[in-house]
């Protein structure tokens, strides 16, 4: 034999899943919500998403270039961050503001903390909160949705804001809430599309159902406890996109299933405390960010018991 044999450590076969196939699945899971956003909010939604995705990829490439890191744009994680960030923005937000958000997400939150796998907070959520604090007025101007479509130039309150203000007469019906025919961030409104995408991720084993179930279940139980209408709490705000697509971010959520339950319940508690007692009508983003921060502690405290392990 002329060539030398290849010698590597076992195992010699590997599962076909790679980081990029996982990210590709997340993008597929987000697709129904993208379609819903275009139907409800028009093609501006697609433009906003495309700009965010492109900006995130460019920022990722540029930062890695400057820092002398390996180019990882092919793992698609920057695209996922861009798409999720765009879903968390009002559809008519000026594009330059969205790009500033992308810069914050990729350069500050992701790359400066070490790149993929090392960020302490979900880049899209941190960027959304950054934009909310920086550009409060445009970040909380919601186009009114009437007869299934957003009306250009007419602004209104989101259902959760209406509830917080006690204006419950003008609330959309539950069916409209479920289909996403209401004011809000462009990708968060259609619960139906987000649940379809979430089920796809669970079926593909990209995520386990633990965090979505404990987050959504926690919100349900707490809204009953706090005496608010649970259906509007479940279908309103960013709960569905948060529970399926943002709280489940690998790097910033606990690694064990037990830890994930704590994480999901913690998100639910913070969300409901902000919604019911806080001055903001919505608390999903803050809840996930705060739970991201305590994730390392959950990972340290909640560990699997080794099979046959003996305490020493």
């Amino acid at each position: 034999m002329s060539n030398k044999l290849i010698v590597t450590a076992s195992p010699h076969i590997h599962d076909s899943a790679t980081t990029s196939t996982i990210m590709r699945d997340v993008l597929i899971g987000l697709a129904p919500a993208m379609v819903a956003a275009v139907i409800i909010f028009g093609f501006r939604a697609l433009l906003l998403t495309a700009v965010c995705a492109a900006a995130c990829v460019i920022f990722e490439y540029a930062t890695e270039r400057v820092l002398g890191r390996e180019n990882t744009i092919s793992d698609l994680s920057a695209v996922v961050t861009g798409v999720i960030l765009s879903f968390n923005l009002p559809v008519q937000l000026p594009l330059w503001m969205a790009v500033v958000g992308c810069f914050f997400a990729i350069v500050i939150v992701k790359q400066l903390f070490g790149g993929i796998g090392n960020n302490f907070a979900n880049p899209a959520i941190a960027a959304r909160i950054f934009l909310l604090l920086s550009f409060s007025q445009p970040m909380t101007s919601w186009l009114s949705v009437e007869n299934g479509h957003a009306v250009q130039g007419v602004y209104g309150a989101t259902p959760l804001a209406q509830i917080a203000a006690g204006e419950t007469d003008a609330l959309p019906s539950l069916l409209e809430m479920f289909l996403g025919l209401r004011g809000g961030c462009m990708g968060e409104t259609c619960a139906l599309a987000l649940i379809i995408g979430g089920i796809y991720l669970i079926w593909r084993k990209v995520i386990t159902p633990t965090i979505p179930l404990s987050f959504i279940g926690g919100v349900l139980v707490l809204s009953l406890l706090f005496g608010v209408d649970p259906m509007y709490q479940l279908l309103g705000g960013g709960l569905m996109i948060g529970a399926f697509f943002m709280a489940t971010d690998y790097t910033t959520s606990p690694i064990t299933e037990k830890g994930k339950i704590i994480f999901g319940l913690g998100c639910a508690l913070i969300t409901m405390v902000i919604r019911v007692f806080g001055s903001y009508p919505e608390g999903v983003s803050y809840s996930i960010l705060l739970m991201n921060i305590i994730t390392p502690h959950i990972n340290r405290m909640v560990r699997n018991k080794a099979f046959g392990g003996v305490q020493q």
């Binding site: 290849i6 076969i13 590997h14 980081t19 793992d75 046959g308 003996v310």
Partner: protein, 440 residues
């Protein structure tokens, strides 16, 4: 097919990974290969002390003749697999990776059987152990643990259960399946002998449910014996790991630091057990090995009965040679097998497969950053947390590695198989064990 197979008696299973089975040689009844011109019989084909040679250059040896033994308790005897003349006693690197003494025998093709070969007289436990010692048997599942040591218990009352490991969970390999289909009579003879001399009440035969033909056949043959139970196991790697099969057949947990007998159970590979039956019948020691020859570079994949000491090249030639030049040669299965540097290694007792892969089937593995997805944690049958072990290893944090119980890792490869970032988690675990081991 008969009744529906209920795996693990419907009990909860330990985690693992779904690997492609590739049991291409299921129907290949093992073919005896012709005796090669030369065999290279290693004197160290087992765990423990190597044997000292009992023959010298120029000696004529016969089939089954004792050619190596050791005074050490932890050792296994070596016999000639051929008749012929000892050409040299030399050293070479064997597939275990060690440099060992090897008896090189030029064969004469007569296969004259030694006078030493006669059925042993066994009437009690001590004679049974002596017979095992004389047989040269080592654990044929892969570990190469001397059988007379494994079955030698100070207190027979401590063990009430025998688990026969017939999971054969590694992809490609089908030799244990063939044992069950072709040698079930010898298998049950071996089981009954162990039951008799070791006073064992209960025997479980654990078989992955991707082998329904074996499950059905063995169930039929032990239908009238209430002490033997065939337990189908969910076909998920690694059901054949010692701790996994003990738990999933009879619910016994082999705890940290324990040997199986301390948990009240003895675990033996199914082919080893059938060999015990054969040895008690014929007295022929362990001089041949059935192994699966498969992989994309092999012209005619099949199961082969080869004499110990035949080179892999001889064995592959018997399978029509290489279809194309192999890029990777594995001794054993793709999950835990050892890659070979050379095709001229001689066959040792605990080889159970030789896989040869063409270049197109050896994917280049690109390692990327850990994304903390937790797949390794969910895949680990031992409930360990490989991604945290990797972090602790990088920090050289010995206390943390101990707390994470890295010493319980069975190196099955599930974590690295499942990892989307293709990280070398098994290597890290092996190095971590070294790191926390007490310094000698």
């Amino acid at each position: 097919m008969g009744a529906k197979i209920v795996s693990n008696n419907g009990k909860k299973t330990l985690p693992g990974v779904h690997v492609p089975h590739h049991k291409n040689t299921n129907d290949s009844v093992p073919q005896v290969m012709p005796v090669p011109d030369k065999v290279y019989i290693s004197l160290h084909m087992h765990m423990g002390a190597p044997c000292d040679p009992l023959v010298k250059k120029g000696d004529y040896v016969k089939v089954g003749q004792l050619i190596g033994s050791s005074q050490a308790f932890m050792s296994a005897r070596t016999h000639s697999s051929v008749s012929g003349t000892v050409e040299a006693i030399t050293t070479m690197t064997t597939s275990i990776g060690a440099v060992d003494q090897v008896v090189v025998i030029a064969t004469d093709g007569k296969q004259e059987v030694s006078e030493e070969v006669k059925p042993p007289v066994v009437t009690n436990y001590q004679e049974f152990l002596e017979a095992l010692k004389c047989s040269g048997l080592v654990g044929l599942g892969g570990a190469g643990f001397p059988a007379h040591v494994k079955f030698n218990l100070k207190d027979l009352n401590a063990v009430d259960t025998l688990v026969i490991n017939a999971a054969e969970c590694e992809p490609y390999i089908t030799t244990d399946l063939r044992t069950m289909l072709d040698k079930s009579e010898m298998l049950f003879k071996g089981i009954k002998a162990v039951q008799k001399y070791m006073e064992i009440n209960k025997v479980y035969i654990g078989i992955e449910d991707n082998k329904p033909q074996a499950i059905e056949k063995l169930r039929q043959e032990c239908a009238n014996d209430p002490t033997i139970e065939v337990v189908p196991l969910k076909a998920m790697y690694p059901k054949g790991a010692e701790k996994v099969i003990a738990y999933e057949t009879c619910g016994k947990v082999i705890k940290e630091g324990q040997l199986p007998y301390q948990a009240g159970v003895i675990i033996s590979n199914v082919t080893s057990m059938a060999f015990i039956g054969e040895y008690l019948t014929t007295g022929m020691p362990l001089i041949t090995k059935t192994l699966t020859i498969d992989g994309s570079a092999i012209k005619e994949p099949k199961n082969v009965v080869a004499p110990i000491g035949a080179t892999f090249k001889d064995i592959v030639d018997f399978c029509g040679g290489f279809k194309e030049e192999p890029a990777k040669l594995l001794m054993g299965g793709p999950m835990m097998g050892t890659p070979l540097y050379d095709v001229n290694y001689p066959l040792v007792k605990n080889n159970n497969a030789l896989l040869a892969f063409a270049k197109a089937d050896v994917p280049k593995i690109q390692e990327t950053a850990c994304i903390r997805c937790g797949r390794c944690v969910r895949a680990c049958p031992m409930g360990l947390m490989p991604s945290l072990i990797e972090t602790a290893f990088k920090m050289k944090n010995i206390d943390e590695l101990k707390a994470l119980k890295v010493n319980l890792c069975i190196e099955c490869g599930c974590c690295a198989y499942a990892c989307p970032a293709k990280r070398s988690l098994v290597v890290v675990n092996k190095l971590s064990k070294r790191l926390i081991a007490p310094k000698k």
